[in-house]
């Protein structure tokens, strides 16, 4: 098979599974890089799992090389070590870098503007391209996993697989720390932040005074400017004060660098106050205009 990976620099162990790395055809001129590892148990009988990281714009090779893949990269950036809890111990796992423009995926015309539905369509085409390369796997039970913004990628692709013409033995989907609703993600973060001790009484009282009425609070799209400003202060504490927003009780690796791609992700996550995110990014704390009383 042209895409089979037969040796990898830095691999000092002999894998007991096969692996392929190459390109799947999405829309005309769009090519998604895939990396496929067979199950270490029974590739014929074990399920096939598609893994998608989110972003939007981040690579599923993070899932492979840092999360659930069969091997990870040592800190020296040169040698590999085996992952004892690899998900390909019991499943065939396919990692796809999506959409085009992410990681090693590309578009002939170098045009990378896209949207949720187009990504789902491209992922569906890429999946059919995968099954054309590996027809034996059409019988295996099939699952789709998405993480983070993959909380939108996974269900939208799942709907195409479940209702599309392609014969795929689709059984279900899973979402890890997914974005499923902007409103609920915003609303819940304020409670999460306060009850994890990030805000203190002044800000919590001001949030309640300005965002709540008759016992119901709206931290997502309040019409009150005071409420919006206080919510932005709260988000600033979560995302701009030096905490590790991915894991509250872990240090922030590599200091407080910020990736514009990441910040845009936050803007996607917090659509309504996203335009202020840039201001927050360059300020150390609450914008000067806000008095916390």
């Amino acid at each position: 098979a042209p895409d089979e990976v037969t040796n990898l620099p830095g691999m000092k162990f002999k894998p007991n599974y096969r692996q392929w790395s190459g390109y799947l055809q999405a829309r005309q001129g769009k090519f998604l890089h895939y990396w496929f590892v067979t199950s270490q148990r029974d590739p014929v009988k074990d399920p096939l799992v598609l893994w998608l990281n989110g972003g939007p714009g981040c690579s599923s090779l993070d899932g492979f090389l840092s999360e659930n893949g069969p091997f990870h990269v040592n800190d020296n950036g040169a040698s590999l070590y085996e992952n004892a809890f690899s998900w390909n111990k019991i499943a065939n796992v396919l990692y796809v870098e999506s959409p085009a423009g992410v990681g090693f995926s590309y578009s002939d015309d170098k045009k990378y503007a896209t949207d949720d539905d187009q990504v789902a369509d491209d992922n569906y085409k890429a999946l059919q391209s995968f099954f054309a390369k590996f027809p034996n796997f059409t019988q295996n039970e099939f699952f789709i996993f998405g993480e983070s913004y993959g909380g939108i990628y996974a269900p939208t692709l799942s709907l195409r697989v479940a209702t599309g013409a392609a014969k795929i033995n689709f059984k279900g989907f899973a979402v890890g720390n997914g974005l499923s609703s902007f409103a609920l993600n915003d609303q819940s973060l304020i409670y999460f932040g306060y009850y994890h001790g990030l805000f203190g009484e002044d800000l919590w009282r001001d949030l309640n005074i300005n965002c709540c009425e008759k016992g119901s609070c709206n931290f997502y799209n309040s019409s009150s400017d005071a409420c919006k400003t206080l919510v932005i202060v709260a988000f600033g504490i979560v995302y701009n004060s030096g905490l590790n927003e991915y894991a509250l009780y872990l240090d922030c690796e590599g200091g407080r660098r910020s990736h514009r791609g990441y910040e845009r992700t936050m803007i996607h996550l917090f659509k309504n106050c996203g335009k202020h995110m840039h201001t927050l990014k360059f300020s150390d704390g609450a914008p000067s205009s806000v008095s916390l009383g």
Binding site: V5, G10, S21, G22, G55, G57, C58, L61, D62, L65, S66, V73, G77, N83, F85, W87, A91, G101, V102, F104, Y112, D115, E147, S148, I152, P155, T156, A162, F170, K171, F173, A174, G176, N177, G178, L179, S180, S181, A183, L184, D186, Q187, S188, L189, Y191, F192, N244, E245, Y246, A247, L248, L250, G254, R257, H259, R260, G261, Y262, T265, L269
Partner: protein
């Protein structure tokens, strides 16, 4: 550059070695690998402010679903996804209860027919990275439709 607090230097250095790219059949003409793409993120259009209707269609087609959250993550916190699953309006078929891994409480879960909401205690955004054992257990239970 990488997202804040995430150090992907090692993968980046390995993936951008010429012999690794050759072994992975990556065209030499492509730019270096990065964890996230500005090109894509900058021009991306979000169409779904919620995927509630998509979930309801998928559940009605008899598919199985798992919504899991590392409970120390703040980018997509567990409470928001718990409220999302509860807001689907499906009847709960189990109580909200603990699940055990290696004789320790690994988190909590509740099932609503074919959809399960599950937390992984102490894990962040990338659950398999920060709780590999419980994540594997959860994965195995889901794909075999077994007990958590």
């Amino acid at each position: 550059e990488v997202p804040p607090c995430i150090n992907s230097t090692a993968q980046m250095n390995w993936l951008n070695r010429g012999d690794v790219r050759k072994a992975l059949h990556i065209p030499a003409t492509l730019p270096p690998w990065d964890l996230c793409s500005d090109d894509v993120g900058e021009q991306y259009t979000t169409l779904y402010s919620t995927v509630k209707d998509v979930y309801l269609k998928l559940i009605s087609l008899g598919l199985r679903a798992l919504v899991y959250n590392g409970d120390t993550d703040m980018a997509c916190n567990f409470l928001g996804d718990q409220w999302f699953v509860e807001d689907l309006g499906l009847e709960a078929t189990t109580k909200y209860q603990t699940w055990i891994h290696d004789d320790q409480i690994a988190g909590f879960y509740q099932q609503f027919g074919n959809i399960t909401f599950l937390t992984v205690k102490g894990a962040g955004h990338m659950v398999p990275q920060w709780a590999p054992g419980p994540a594997f257990h959860m994965f195995q239970s889901f794909i075999t439709n077994g007990y958590y």
